[in-house]
Amino acid sequence: MPDKDIYQSHGINEDEKKLLLESLGREPTITEIGIFSVMWSEHCSYKSSRYWLKELHTSGKQVIQGPGENAGVVDIGDNQAVIFKMESHNHPSFIEPYQGAATGVGGIMRDVFTMGARPIALLNSLRFGEINHPKTKYLLSGVVSGIGGYGNCVGIPTISGETGFDISYNGNNLVNAMCVGLTTHDKIFYSKASGIGNPVVYVGAKTGRDGIHGATMASGEFDDESEKNRPTVQVGDPYAEKLLLEACLELMQEDAIVSIQDMGAAGLTSSSVEMADKGQVGIELNLDKIPTRQKNMTAYEMMLSESQERMLMVLTPEKTQLAKEVFEKWGVDFEIVGQITDTNNLVVKHKNKVEANIPITYLTDSAPIYKRDVSPRKQKQKSTAKINQNIDIKDTILKLLNSPNICSKKWIWEQYDRSIMANTLNPAGDDAGIVRIEGTKKAIAMSSDVNPKYCTADAKKGAKQAVAECWRNIISMGAEPLAITNCLNFGNPEKPEIMYDFVKTIEGITEASRELNFPVVSGNVSLYNETNGKPINNTPTIGGVGLINDISFLEKFGHMLEGDQVFLIGNKGKNLSCSAFEEVIMGRNTEDPPDVNLKTEKINGEIVKKLINDQLLSSCHDISDGGLIISICELLIKSNIGADINIANNGNILEELFAENQSRYIISVSSSNQDKMFEILNNASIQYHHLGNIKGNELKVNDKIVISLNELNEAFENLIPELMAS
């Protein structure tokens, strides 16, 4: 019989233990304790966040499936749909960067193809500690090659992402991976099980003792030796994933699958429980049939294993033989391991013994939910450092371009296969990645964004800004923003200040996504990102997807051209608080990030999108980190051309150049298109300002500040390669 400590070592607290015993009305078996512990864990039950996540804005006429399934589904017309989600793999990537990141990519891909979509693009959002921290180089290099190693091998292009550095991640880096897939409306697969007596089928890699978190005492059979050998980080096998992907998609062409669910966290347990729960049925598993990698695995181990590249399906009996043939053809294990029952219980049998028999609602509906205490953080002391108005502007621009959060991430994205599938339309480095849809004029634009500095200074403003920036990045490529996914990375939710920020974050996301008609269709929460009591910056990553209906405009869009006129869409910059300028140049962080006026955001964005789609613009880039001048520099570097920029002398030039006010874009337009553009801008009565024109091979600001393209390039490109070569 399990002893007292066993609950504790399974992360089940006293109240939860009482609830467990009361529900069950008897002593649980060790396997049952394991099952409860994972189903009631933060990871599976979202016990700290579920109460608040309900608040999110999740509807819209484009939404086919919102949160609650493996991934969100959005209509893109012509009977087609995109399926996407983002997920974190933070902790594993910290202790084994290559495998942790690789399996993160593998996991999110399965979430997408389990719903019937062929993955068409991958994105990733990464945060590391300070760039000079001794571990950063090792983590960055391992994580990036892990992400590439997995995605490249399966053959899905990695087309966009973001990478940031900050001291708060020194002991806790973040790896958020996003996958976008494509399918048709009639080929969307859900996890809801049905059909009493239908076979439950296991496909994919064999089960090993991977990631079983229970303590040693969980099973008498563990000794020190086996403990030592038990992997806490899984090794990914992208080759196995590729075969699993092809086999699943092939079977999905037949009417064989009733329901399907990938085995993610808590593997067999959560997949079987979720399928049965959604269908309000029971499920019975016979563990003797589970393909295993190691000998003598116990029921406890099999139920809790987190081995990768596995799926669980409910099939129609008539098509089971056919399904077997498909999987065998692809060389993928296929085993009938159980059946759907009418008991509403999860029943687990192993070696003629019932190892678990639990009413499924105990594991799902009755799982604990916490409405944890919230209280706002004490405002940090305002920094009193004064801005030196006589600062050297050229030097400032170069320093910003050469700073970790703004500099080029080429060293990273050159390791990701971008051109495979032959549909990626833009080179890396744009605001959003674009993938064309074979056989149509359509394309999907994708971006992932968050500014953790803003989100930590003011959780609600920061969250609004993250949604808005993602929206803006999609607009900047001329696409119609459709919907978002998210990954909410926070510290310990039992701390009221963190929970407060979490709640404010949800408010911010909700407000912005409602106003911008950019609903949340999937997401993920990662809590307890702390080391020695020091939490990470709040990092609610937003991943967005947009639709381009006709890609023709792209042919003449994307570069600033000789003779173009440059304009700012939006207000002049006013506020340096929380900006990159403050951080990089002044070494201070204040607590007042720019607010987003969602009305302005929407109007500006829609007009910019119209200008692009009417083929009036040569280029467009939103203004974010570093402000207006950095945005111009990025476009000049990309276009390999210079510009003559004039900033009116009556304003505050530092604010105009470096402030990060929101809802703004830099655009360039040929002289012949100018009048048409003015007409549209004036009709919409939105703010815009002429800034200068494109020419030569240097950036000139107010004739006084002159920076050659070479200098811009070197500042922008060299930081990470130099770090990695050192």
Binding site: E96, G208, R209, D210, S226, N229, P231, D237, Q308
Partner: protein, 79 residues
């Protein structure tokens, strides 16, 4: 002195490479070979006063650089 470090995945960790080799050998009708595991062999020259010292040095760099003991074991041999 010459030294070699063997770095291998822990016995319970999935070894996709070993698996792939094993099934390739099956296809080549080699059925008497089993449990293939692929690891790394790192060879080097080391200057040290004695074997003891060399071993210590190498253990040091193995933990720092060559092996991640979350998933790997290692063994050091000095000639």
């Amino acid at each position: 002195m010459k030294a070699r470090v063997f770095v291998r995945l822990k016995s319970e960790v999935l070894d996709p490479q070993g698996q792939a080799i094993e099934s390739a050998l099956k296809n080549l009708n080699e059925n008497n070979i089993k449990n293939i595991r692929q690891g790394k062999l790192i060879e080097m020259d080391i200057e040290a006063k004695n074997v003891q010292e060399a071993k210590k040095s190498i253990e040091d760099i193995t933990l720092k650089l060559l092996a991640n003991t979350v998933i790997e074991d290692y063994k050091i041999e000095i000639e």
